[in-house]
């Protein structure tokens, strides 16, 4: 198996780098980058649109192109998150927590440089683990069932306790409200419609993107606009901006442990079908706060708050190929479209593809790798003009951001109701910020609430039917331990600090 893997990898690399094959991932990356700049347009949308074009192509250029498309979309959404507080996609929502404050402090270049390095590096780690897991793909996926998913999501929810400091009651209330919002829609277990007021639009619940666009993008820009602040960065000339790309890139190496941990989290979450990049980003952000001794700057422009979600977000790409290639189970929306494209070209994901077409599989993997680095390099190359945008007057930028947010909310699922939702949450988000209500717990709870309820029910039902023995699942026990540690750590730290004070 190892020999076949190495041979497949080398042959795949040769195929990617050969002329004119290399043009496919490059063009795919550029197209995805261009499109991903528009919020709400995901990589999956671009990939779906490319399918008719590629029908007559051979499998090789299909793999080359789609590898580029998967990798090209992820980073650009982070740039809009950093500059304008407008996440290009769900996973970028975690980046804006600290990325945008950095831009507000005139350090957009540092933030973008950091995001670029963390993205490219994170995807490299994700791909490396993907390759190492090729002989163990099946076992890796089989290890994650509903009980493990439940604990993983609870772990994500406990990061709320970590991320918010001070007004614990308000954080809990915000999380509760987020969970209640997550319950809107059809209950999968009973088929009943909950809290939809008879409105078909709410059948599938509230979309995360319109809510995030409202709570963060619209609300923050409204706040800036009302506050009378002149520019995003507070500076009116580019020369006044501080920070640099080099500083940003270096920060990833300064916090190497955090970067690697975050990339591993992203890869692991990517492997689990149906969890998604947004969860990966927030989990990584949470662990970044949790494992830091000095946490005061998080949420106010801490570079570690950019490293963690960016590394996880891009590492997830490599991880999400594992269930696709092993079982034909899409790990994300983008991989769902990828699967559709593969099937249309007679490439059925699964054991057959992995044994008979390994070089083609590696063509996909290498294209993804190349695409992530192209995106980051180009992003860095554009840092100058991008950072300049933070010196534009808020009164000029604000309507553009509002328009982009509305466009993004509509583009998400082509429903005008999402625009109303985004604007309504924009007002709510503005008021929440004004009156010191934390918004992150609401978003995290909205993101995870549905999955927690479903997996809790499934686990309880399977346990009642005698189908699962919770004590015989080692991964589950590890996750339970992690959750307990997560919950105990703040209390332990507080105790430790209290004991040290009298001594000093």
């Amino acid at each position: 198996m190892l020999e076949a893997t190495v041979h497949g990898a080398l042959e795949g690399l040769w195929l990617v780098l050969a002329w004119p094959n290399i043009l496919y991932p490059v063009l795919g990356t550029l197209l995805a980058m261009l499109v991903a700049f528009v919020p709400g347009i995901s990589g999956a949308t671009v990939m779906a649109l490319m399918i008719p074009f590629t029908l007559a192509w051979e499998p090789l250029p299909v793999m080359l192109t789609f590898g580029g498309l998967v990798g090209g979309a992820t980073f650009m959404g982070s740039i809009t998150a950093i500059l304008f507080n407008v996440p290009g996609s769900g996973p970028s929502a975690a980046t804006l927590i600290d990325g945008h404050p950095l831009a507000q402090q005139g350090q957009a270049r540092t933030a973008i440089g950091c995001a670029a390095m963390a993205s490219a590096g994170g995807s490299t780690i994700g791909i490396l683990i993907l390759v190492l897991l090729i002989p163990l793909m099946r076992q890796a996926i089989m290890a994650f069932g509903p009980p493990e998913l439940l604990m993983l999501m609870i772990w994500g929810l406990t990061t709320i306790a970590v991320v918010t400091r001070g007004a614990v009651a308000r954080a809990l209330i915000a999380a509760g409200l987020g969970l209640l919002l997550a319950f809107i829609g059809q209950d999968a277990r009973t088929g009943e419609l909950r809290f939809t007021f008879g409105w078909l639009y709410l059948w599938d619940g509230l979309g995360l993107i319109p809510v995030v666009l409202g709570l963060f993008s619209i609300a923050e820009m409204a706040d800036l606009s009302v506050s009378g602040r002149l520019t995003i960065s507070g500076k009116s000339r580019v020369e006044q901006l501080s920070g640099s790309v080099r500083e940003g890139v270096r920060s990833v190496f300064t916090h190497l442990g955090l970067f690697v941990r975050s990339a591993l989290i992203g890869t692991a979450v990517g492997i689990i079908p149906g969890v998604g990049g947004t969860v990966a980003s927030f989990l990584a952000y949470g662990q970044a706060v949790q494992t830091s001794s000095d946490r005061d700057r998080f949420g106010k422009g801490d570079i570690r708050g950019v490293i963690a979600p960016e590394a996880a977000h891009d590492a997830k790409d490599g991880g999400s190929l594992v269930p696709v290639l092993a079982f034909g189970i899409p790990g994300s929306e983008a991989t769902a479209v990828l699967m559709a494209a593969l099937v249309l070209h007679g490439l059925v994901p699964g054991r057959a593809l992995m044994t008979d077409q390994l070089p083609l599989v590696f063509v996909l993997i290498w294209s993804l790798f190349l695409s992530n680095w192209i995106t980051s390099i180009l992003g860095v190359a554009l840092v100058g003009p991008l950072a300049r945008l933070t010196t534009l007057r808020v009164q000029v930028l604000a309507p553009i951001v509002f328009a982009l947010a509305v466009l993004g909310a509509f583009a998400y699922e082509q429903r005008f109701e999402d625009v109303g939702v985004a604007l309504a949450f924009g007002i709510i988000g503005y008021l929440m910020k004004k009156h010191a209500w934390p918004r992150i717990p609401l978003v995290v709870a909205l993101l995870l609430g549905g999955g927690i309820e479903l997996n809790l029910r499934i686990t309880a039902q399977l346990h009642a039917l005698g189908r699962v023995d919770l004590w015989a699942r080692p991964l589950l026990l590890v996750l339970v331990l992690l959750v307990l540690v997560n919950l105990a750590l703040p209390w332990l730290r507080a105790n430790s600090a209290a004991r040290q004070e009298p001594a000093s």
Partner: protein
């Protein structure tokens, strides 16, 4: 290795797409009927799921060929949500001028319409059927390590404890198929809902968390081929496909089918079983159909149906598709849908009882 000629032709396709707008490279010369002046117009083709789903993939497969035949531009519009109801409603509510068409899944929509799910259009009366694109019958499949080799084993196990199925959501086509089939077989099942899709539920069966799944054969054939799942029952009147994995696999319907066999053995009402089995097979077999709004002009509808059928039976489309589409003309598809709509109420009592059980 990609040849230089292939690369150049693909590159020109890229450039064409970027500069001129998508579809130009495929349109070529206009051939075929103009279908009441649709040539040069833009047709909105509604797909009731997100990009990448089965309906989406099939639509994107036929899109360039249909464009060529109609001489019109087809813009695929994904309208996901509410189990396909939102997309179906969008088609039903559109102006019947031939500029809004789409694809719907008849089984799920029929059940939703009959159980009066909010605003679900009835495909038999609220939409104009233009033709069937594909259909696939359900199979019951178990994980390779489940210990269940045949349907006999499963039914024997069900005498001691319920058979546990994994599905994505209550009210889905899978829920309907499993509930109705379990009823005619007179077997006790427990349904665990909430899995995030067909593949996630199938993985639960592979893992051994549940006994069985019941899904479209086409959707899980790759897992069957890989040896991860083993089919135990074909929810049909006859063999579903000439696929070797179905050799010797029990068939639900037909005079020699397991439904009647169990009914005779247990002294239950044979006619009722026969009717219910037929209803189940007809509802599930109505498939995915291309539709337009109701009250579409007869001539326009006939032209669109003809063009669609020619597209679906085009050798290039069949070659490009990796699975059998099983297309049918508008007349056949309409008859199938009408028959399914007439028989679907037979399934309602069992479905409602199952829903009441899961809500306790």
């Amino acid at each position: 290795m990609v040849s230089r000629r292939q690369a150049l032709s693909a590159l020109s396709a890229w450039a064409g797409a970027a500069a001129l707008g998508c579809g130009e490279a495929w349109r070529g010369s206009t051939t075929g009927p103009t279908c009441g002046g649709l040539a040069g117009r833009r047709i909105r083709w509604i797909v009731p799921n997100a990009p990448g789903g089965g309906y989406d993939a099939e639509s994107r497969l036929i899109e360039p060929f249909l464009e060529q035949r109609l001489g019109a531009e087809i813009a695929i519009d994904n309208v996901p949500g509410a189990g396909g109801i939102l997309g179906a409603r969008a088609i039903a509510a559109a102006v019947p001028d031939g500029l809004t068409l789409g694809v719907v899944g008849v089984p799920g929509l029929l059940v939703a319409a009959l159980s009066r799910a909010a605003g679900a259009p009835n495909p038999a009366s609220d939409l104009t059927i233009l033709g069937r694109i594909s259909r696939s019958y359900h199979v019951w499949a178990t994980g390779r390590n489940s210990g269940l080799e045949t349907l006999d084993d499963a039914l024997a196990a069900a005498e001691v404890r319920p058979l546990v199925f994994a599905i994505n959501e209550v009210g889905s086509a899978s829920f309907v198929s499993i509930t109705a089939a379990a009823s005619v077989l007179d077997v006790h099942v427990e349904i665990v809902a909430g899995f995030g899709g067909t593949r996630a539920a199938s993985l639960a069966a592979v893992r051994g968390d549940v006994d069985l799944v019941g899904f479209n054969f086409d959707t899980i054939v790759d897992l069957i081929d890989a040896g991860e799942l083993r089919p135990l029952l074909q929810v049909s009147l006859s063999r579903i496909a000439p696929h070797q994995s179905l050799d010797g696999v029990a068939i639900l319907g037909g005079e020699d089918g397991w439904a009647l066999r169990r009914t005779r053995a247990r002294g239950r009402d044979i006619d009722q079983t026969r009717r219910h089995t037929q209803a189940l097979v007809d509802v599930m077999g109505a498939g995915r159909v291309a539709v337009g709004p109701a009250r579409l002009d007869t001539g326009l509808s006939a032209c669109l149906s003809r063009t669609l059928h020619e597209t679906l039976t085009d050798a290039r489309v069949l070659a490009a598709s990796s699975r059998t589409l099983d297309a049918a003309s508008a007349r056949v598809a309409q008859d199938d849908v009408q028959r399914a709509a007439a028989e679907a109420p037979l399934l309602l009592p069992d479905l409602e009882a199952a829903m009441r059980r899961v809500r306790q």
